[in-house]
Symmetry: C2
Subunit: 132 residues, 2 copies
DNA sequence: CTAACATGGTTGACAGCTCAAGTATAGACG
DNA sequence: CGTCTATACTTGAGCTGTCAACCATGTTAG
């Protein structure tokens, strides 16, 4: 399923599933910005993985770096206008794909259940913010 | 979770989660043998992925190639005695890990539910056997 | 203040997997 | 029989992500 979804996303928009995931996180984040560490945690990548993934998105002009005023160590990833547009375009197709491959097999109650059950799995916890 | 399980397996027995997965499949297969294609399908790898993974297991002496009497195209992967022993050793630890990280978070009924729900996801279907 | 440690981030080397292309065998059909 | 298509498997090239090592900044305690 992951392969299939990723392949479709790749074919239609040149995005990896992880790329897309990062775009979603940024899109819904306050100021469309997130610390790289936090981003790494939510998309289940390591710090270096995020560096490399963002390299690509930055080169494409969809994401840019921003420094933090109160902590010189942190760098924010910020979704550019181009990136926002890109995401909005990709989202429709992807949601349709997910619905087709995944959603159609479960009733709404079953989805709830799945979400609740899988939500119990152990994940690293998030951390503090910083006023940009 | 996958990372954690794989890391433990790697640390304790020098096995990848996928290596382990292949070992399980072979262990419970008739004659401890499986066609490479079928193996690929059940562990969710491509044909070339299996070739490379088995390369490693063969070099370690846990798996060996066997040809098929009735179809010269197919090669069987067969678990050697060493491989069987290896698997039995690794299994205990791994089951404990899974229980710790995963099982402890769900009641038996919930596990059933999860299995049923996730079991509905689309997977490539298996294929025919061949008398070795 | 300084030493010691924790945290955010990047980089080099490498593992693991994919895709595309190629080889070899099998089966179907004229 | 020869051709055409499908299947089993391997290999070369390349991508993605990991780990380990590193630098820089922040935090805490003597």
């Amino acid at each position: 399923m992951t392969r299939e979804l990723s392949a479709r996303l790749e074919g239609a928009h040149g995005l990896t599933l992880n790329d897309y995931d990062v775009l979603v996180q940024l899109y819904y984040a306050p100021e469309r910005s997130l610390r790289r560490v936090d981003l790494a945690r939510t998309v289940l990548l390591t710090a270096s993985g995020i560096t490399r993934l963002l390299d690509g998105l930055e080169r494409a002009g969809w994401v840019e770096k921003r420094s933090c005023a109160t902590d010189a160590r942190v760098t924010y990833a910020h979704l550019t206008d181009a990136g926002t547009a890109k995401f909005e375009t990709a989202q429709a197709g992807h949601l349709a794909d997910v619905e087709e491959l995944f959603g159609s097999r479960f009733t709404p109650e079953e989805r709830e259940q799945l979400a609740e059950l899988l939500g119990r799995l152990p994940l690293a916890e998030t951390s503090e913010a910083c006023s940009a």
